[in-house]
């Protein structure tokens, strides 16, 4: 078709920055060593490269490099933190607290904990997508070993009150783990400043390569330990065995270095473009609603429901050249709409009608202008086709209709 492709799905994954790719290349052929080979120059070069990357990543989140454990990605880090803490602190208790809007990697790891005999409390969120600190404190018991609350939500970009949660955890002597996958590299993230003891994050959401992630594990006050979930050669201080992905880690390190230097300017530019997109769409189109807390939100994300239009159908009007994602059921095999949006109290119909726009470092103003035009055109087209839009326009109360459920 020869159309310019526009990528606004950076919360799914980001393109690898060309500077990152360039940094990785020597570690495929020229420097092929295993970082655990201690007896030759190849191994030394690999080990040094990993050390440098570990420092770059630690610097980005203001922790000690010895507190960074490399993994294959945030899903593995989430699993290692939750299952690892549950096993390590069994004598202390068996209760974990999390929230309904967490990523599946956390929710499903918690589901496994329940099967293993643990107890899990899933906190509700308010209409803004944030948990109540009061609910959290009330949920803590003498058996609670871990609170796991994500830093920023993948679907809405909503940022939790990390300091507030950290203070409550500290007051009750409970470990605080956070899935910070969507936040690290995009906004300042300093786990120690807010009382986070374990933090999962990944390279490919911050312009690094896929297949490499990290778990921050606090070393002092308190000294946190996790039981390894991957056994073998005892790499990563015994917490995660397996040969290190040296090129991936080098890329992750470079991505962290770039993020530290450019995060503020990226965030400022992207929040302006995001605001332009959001105000244009909600201004031009009737019955368009922004989902989640707009005061505590990632700078590059907006999640909008276009009432009486189904999200996947809407995406089909422009997805030949514009990539976004939807909370519509039709994008998943389950036919259930986004559990995150439903947890915000949206109602299934609005959850079905949502689109998530996630901008990134390579998004241009031209991309946003074209997206505004194409999405508005798509919404109008789909509303012309929508019987419930017609009913709404005729003043019929759609909620009062007895629908034939499928």
């Amino acid at each position: 078709m020869g159309q310019r492709l526009i990528y606004l799905d950076n919360n799914a994954t980001t393109p690898t920055d060309p500077r990152v790719v360039e940094a990785m290349i020597p570690f495929f052929y020229d420097n092929p060593g295993n970082a655990a080979s201690r007896n030759h120059p190849f191994g030394w070069a690999a080990e040094q490269a990993v050390d440098t990357a570990r420092k770059q990543i630690a610097d980005l989140v203001n922790v000690d490099e010895r507190e960074i454990i490399f993994t294959s990605g945030a899903t593995e880090s989430d699993n290692l933190a939750i299952k690892g803490v549950f096993e390590m602190y069994q004598r202390k208790g068996n209760h974990i607290i999390t929230a309904k809007t967490e990523h599946k990697a956390v929710l499903d790891a918690c589901g496994k904990i329940e099967k293993m005999g643990g107890k899990v409390t899933y906190l509700n969120v308010d209409r803004q997508g944030r948990i109540s600190l009061e609910d959290l404190e009330n949920a803590i018991t003498d058996k609670t070993v871990l609170v796991s609350i994500m830093w920023a939500n993948n679907e809405t970009g909503v940022i939790q009150d990390m300091k507030g949660i950290g203070d409550i955890c500290a007051k009750h002597g409970v470990l605080f783990m956070s899935d910070a996958t969507q936040a690290v590299g995009k906004i300042p993230v300093d786990p120690k400043a807010v009382g986070v003891h374990l933090m999962a994050f990944t390279s490919h959401k911050m312009y690094g390569p896929k297949g490499v992630g990290a778990l921050f594990v606090n070393r002092k006050n308190p000294r946190v330990k996790v039981t390894s979930q991957m056994d073998g050669g005892g790499h990563e201080r015994g917490m995660r065995s397996g040969t290190l992905n040296v090129p991936g880690i080098v890329g992750f390190g470079k991505a962290a270095e770039i993020a530290k230097a450019e995060m503020a300017q990226d965030a400022e530019r992207l929040s302006k473009l995001r605001d332009k997109l959001q105000s244009a769409l909600t201004g031009m189109l009737e019955e368009a609603y922004v989902n989640g807390d707009q005061d505590n939100r990632m700078p590059h994300v907006t999640n909008i429901s276009f009432k009486h239009v189904e999200g996947e159908g809407l995406m089909m009007t422009f997805n030949q050249n514009i990539a976004v994602s939807s909370g519509s059921a039709c994008t998943s095999a389950s036919l259930e709409p986004s559990y995150v949006l439903v947890a915000l109290g949206l109602g299934d119909d609005l959850a079905h009608s949502s689109l998530r726009f996630s901008l990134g470092r390579f998004t241009t103003e031209e991309d946003i202008d074209e997206t505004i035009a194409k999405v508005a055109e798509g919404v109008n087209h789909m509303r012309d086709l929508s019987p419930i839009w017609e009913m709404y326009k005729e003043g019929i109360d759609i909620d009062a209709i007895e629908w034939s459920e499928h």
């Binding site: 239009v309 059921a329 095999a333 036919l335 839009w389 017609e390 499928h406």
Partner: protein, 138 residues
């Protein structure tokens, strides 16, 4: 998910979008699905009182691309058919024609239900005894 050319054509250039007078005796309306489920289909037929053939069919659908294409195709097939012929339209024929993937088969079921709903409405309005109403009266 890659969609078939036919499906994309019906999605981009939907046939017979619109609204018939639901108050008319010659018009039958089928409204199926629910907003909470992400699909609502409204399909309408107009039947010639003399020839008993479907002369006009219109739809509006809230749903994904497959749901819109299924209902667009259904209206195309309905025109010119008698009510009995229309009743014989099977969802699997829609699946085949549009090459719907397995997760989208429910869209074709919805289209078949909408056709049956429209016909039932027409028959009820015109006092036609359907198999169902005969059974119910016994």
């Amino acid at each position: 998910m890659a969609y078939s050319e036919k499906l994309l054509d019906h999605f981009k250039n939907p046939r017979n979008v619109g609204t018939l007078d639901k108050g008319s005796n010659n018009v039958g309306t089928g409204l199926v699905g629910a907003p909470e489920c992400g699909d609502v289909m409204r399909l309408q037929i107009e039947v010639d009182p003399i020839t008993k053939k479907i002369t006009e069919a219109k739809f509006k659908t809230f749903g994904c691309g497959s749901a819109i294409a299924s209902s667009s195709l259904a209206t195309e097939w309905l025109k010119g058919k008698t009510v009995d012929e229309a009743l014989a339209i099977d969802n699997m024929a829609i699946v085949e024609e549009l090459a719907l993937p397995p997760v989208k088969i429910h869209c074709s079921v919805l289209a078949e239900d909408a056709i049956k709903g429209a016909i039932k409405d027409y028959q009820t309005k015109n006092g036609v005894q359907t198999a169902e109403s005969i059974a119910a009266s016994h």
